[in-house]
């Protein structure tokens, strides 16, 4: 298993962002759905070793991120695209990607080719020498994806990766996700259920810090059967149905 999570929690003061999550993920594309404030980003940040969990156990790529040497090994094989991508405006696209390749401790002789490949795969080949400050929001997002995949990660964590991408780019990106999922575990946190339907082999739905559903997209779609759940697409209706059921169970307003 590339990701093994048991009873994982994370608190920020009085707020319980993640409340006892259990997950086990192998290679493939895993979609993480949920409404705003469900705890998706906090879970992803823990998986990215940015923040430690408050409690529970977490194993990534067979290693314990609580130990510094093992955390460092994990990070060499990790890719992460945060929800709010900051960037250094003075960098070109290629420099930005190269910078993160070096921070991920890639062997220097592999860096130039890896940078070229990552930039090409995200469709920024003709913008490789453009300064980041001159790029549009969608292109910046693609530069962020390029830095995440430059080290050919075994665990790739993408928080809202398609935000700002145009429909054509989104389609291409889903294809890229499927390709990456052949060798790595790709966790995609998103609001867009069509991304999940098109690219993910497995999907989980989070609400109020907990995973309320985990299965395939087809199984999520099936959750809407026999209900009057709202939604334009079958997957959306499944999403609404699961969410409504979860909130009914806890007494929370849906």
């Amino acid at each position: 298993m590339n990701v093994e999570i048991s009873g994982l929690t994370r608190r920020f003061g009085r707020t319980q962002a993640v409340a006892g999550v259990n997950l086990a993920l192998e290679a493939g594309v895993f979609g993480l759905l949920g409404p705003n404030g469900a705890g998706k980003t906090s879970l992803l940040r823990m998986l990215a070793t940015v923040i430690p969990p408050s409690s529970g156990t977490l194993k990534l790529l067979g290693r314990d991120p609580g130990s510094y040497p093992q955390r460092r090994q994990i990070r060499r094989r990790l890719g992460y695209l945060p929800q709010n991508l900051g960037y250094y405006s003075g960098f070109t696209v290629a420099e930005f990607v190269e910078y993160f390749a070096l921070l991920k401790e890639m062997p220097p002789e592999r860096v130039p080719a890896a940078v070229t490949t990552a930039v090409e795969r995200t469709g920024l080949g003709d913008k490789a020498r453009a300064k980041l400050r001159t790029l549009s929001g969608g292109m910046l997002r693609r530069a962020g994806i390029a830095q995440a995949i430059v080290n050919e990660p075994e665990l790739l964590l993408l928080d809202e990766p398609t935000a700002g991408l145009d429909p054509q780019q989104r389609v291409t990106f889903r294809a890229l996700l499927r390709d990456l999922g052949l060798r790595a575990t790709v966790v995609v946190s998103t609001h867009l259920v069509e991304d999940v339907g098109a690219a993910c082999s497995q999907v989980a739905l989070m609400d109020q810090g907990k995973i309320v559903f985990c299965g395939t997209p087809a199984e999520l779609t099936a959750q809407a059967d026999g209900t009057d759940a709202a939604g334009d697409a079958p997957l959306e209706r499944g999403y609404s149905a699961v969410l409504a059921a979860a909130r009914a169970a806890t007494g929370a307003p849906s």
Binding site: Y68, G86, Y88, Y99, F100, P108, E120, K127, L176
Partner: protein, 517 residues
């Protein structure tokens, strides 16, 4: 974007490196490219021109003066700006919102931070050293003797690194929009505080990085005596220690790296603090000597020996010989002192030669620390030992100010010594002065009238040494004034002839006012 795996022959958007640099070198190259410092380089160059180059060019081309300025003047302008720029670089990850992104990378944050600091420092050093090089090249073309002093440059360059390290650490530890201006302001305050502490005679304040051989550097250091490295060594210890402590401190937090890395950071911090403390302690034992600051624990007695040189001389009625550093001033000095010297040449007790000496008559005074001596006539045959500059020290005045000082102050002093009036010359002349002023303490109207007449005739400005005698009646003062006018009105040859026959009696106080021609 493409879903395919790496294409067989992709176009090369990022120029592949011909030589594979090691990872730290690649990281440093990237940091150098995105550093803020290239944008600040023109501003630093302008500041250097305003605060250092222009004042340096206004001074005579002495290596000690101009070298001292690259430490004191330049760093006063550079250090606050560099601290601010480094703080800006240090707070960059938080400001740019990439803290999460860089926080999950494998490279220890400390290594990443040191690379960013190194890039900032490399640019700053390059700008500083380029500015210094320009000043030194120009000085090399102008200076008549000696060579560039490297100790002030070493201290300046280390101060550049320390300013960047302190500013960078502030930026990392307190990331924010206002950290950069705050760091610059605090650095400026620290420098100003150091100046006040130095002026308040706090001995430890000698470590102040802008301090070049004391608060009132004489012209002796680096010209008549070797440049003493005692204080620069202590300053280097202090600044290198601060740099190490600031950078080491960044590696102490748990998130900074692994156990070994943090142990190295802790050792670096401790060593840095120890070095800085040692530097301050050494500065506390410093004492101001005639030719610079001496720190007993670091002092090499060989540095106390005067440098050897061949003087440059003007073959006037009384030859004037200067240190070769002052070669450019020789015509001015000759012009300033020539009239007075030609008036006294050949007279009994008059000097047969003028020899420049260092400003070594440094005396400790409780009020302001030191005092400088004036000209002295001593020896047989008498020689006028003349320290140039007097009240206008190199580094604090221009060449014209030095010669003007000679004309208006030293000229009358020489004449007053000749006529036997006590004054600064006699007071600071030591044993040799007794020959020039055989009757110190007394002041006769004829001596004053002759002195004033000479000063008036030579177009000098009367200064303190002679002064008028306090007569009981206005008629006494009028008689002295009339004698002055009479003597000044005489032809130069007549004055010289009268002095040749009456000087001994005049100096002994045996000439009444009525006998002054």
């Amino acid at each position: 974007m493409t879903a395919a795996t790496a294409p067989a022959a992709p176009p090369a958007p990022a120029r592949p490196a011909r030589i594979t640099l090691p990872a730290p070198a690649r990281l440093l190259r990237l940091e150098l490219r995105r550093s803020i410092m290239p944008w600040l380089a023109p501003l630093l160059a302008v500041l250097f021109w305003l605060t250092t180059y222009r004042p340096a060019m206004a001074n005579p081309p002495f290596w000690n003066v101009r070298s001292g300025m690259v430490q004191s003047h330049a760093m006063l302008a550079f250090a606050p700006l560099l601290a601010g720029a480094a703080a800006w670089a240090g707070s960059r990850d938080r400001r740019r919102g990439v803290a999460d992104l860089v926080g999950m990378t494998a490279l220890p944050p400390w290594a990443r931070q040191v690379a960013a600091w190194a890039a900032t420092t490399c640019w700053a050093e390059a700008v500083y050293l380029a500015c210094v090089t320009v000043l030194y090249v120009v000085t090399a073309h102008q200076a008549a003797w000696g060579g560039p002093l490297l100790w002030p440059v070493a201290v300046g360059a280390t101060f550049v690194a320390a300013s960047c390290a302190i500013g960078f650490a502030a930026g990392v530890l307190l990331p924010g929009r206002f950290t950069a201006p705050l760091a610059a302001f605090v650095m400026f305050l620290a420098l100003a505080g150091g100046a006040f502490a130095l002026q308040a005679n706090i001995s430890y304040a000698q470590i102040w990085p802008l301090n070049v051989q004391g608060a009132f550097p004489a012209d002796a250091y680096g010209i008549f005596y070797p440049y003493l490295p005692d204080l620069p060594i202590a300053q280097l210890l202090f600044l290198a220690g601060l740099t190490a402590a600031a950078l080491g401190g960044l590696g102490l937090p748990a998130a900074a790296g692994g156990r070994w890395l943090r142990a190295i950071a802790a050792a670096m911090t401790a060593a840095g603090l120890a070095a800085a403390g040692t530097g301050v302690a050494l500065a506390g034992t410093a004492r101001l000597e005639a030719h610079g600051i001496v720190i007993p624990a670091l002092h090499d007695a060989a540095s106390d020996r005067p440098t050897s040189y061949t003087p440059v001389c003007a073959h006037t009625a009384i030859p004037i010989c200067l240190h070769p550093s002052y070669r450019a001033l020789l015509p001015d000095v000759t012009a300033a002192l020539g009239p007075a010297l030609s008036q006294v040449a050949g007279l009994p007790g008059a000097p047969v030669r003028v020899t420049q000496v260092a400003l070594t008559s440094v005396q400790a005074e409780p009020s302001n620390g030191i005092a400088f001596g004036g000209p002295v006539i001593s020896g047989r045959p008498p020689v006028l030992y003349l320290p140039l500059a007097g009240g206008t020290l190199p580094g604090q005045g221009t060449a014209s100010a030095i010669t003007e000082n000679l004309r208006e102050q030293d000229g009358p002093v020489i004449l007053s010594a000749l006529v036997g009036l006590p004054g600064e010359l006699g007071a600071q002349a030591g044993s040799g002065a007794a020959e020039a002023t055989p009757n110190p303490g007394s002041r006769h109207a004829a001596q004053v009238a002759v002195l004033d007449g000479l000063v008036k005739a030579l177009g000098m400005v009367q200064s303190a040494p002679g002064g008028r005698i306090q007569h009981g009646t206005p008629s006494g003062a009028n008689q002295e004034l009339a004698a002055t006018r009479r003597f000044a009105a005489l032809p130069a040859a007549a004055r010289h002839a009268w002095l040749a026959t009456h000087l001994a009696a005049l100096r002994a106080g045996r000439i009444p006012l009525s006998e002054v021609p």
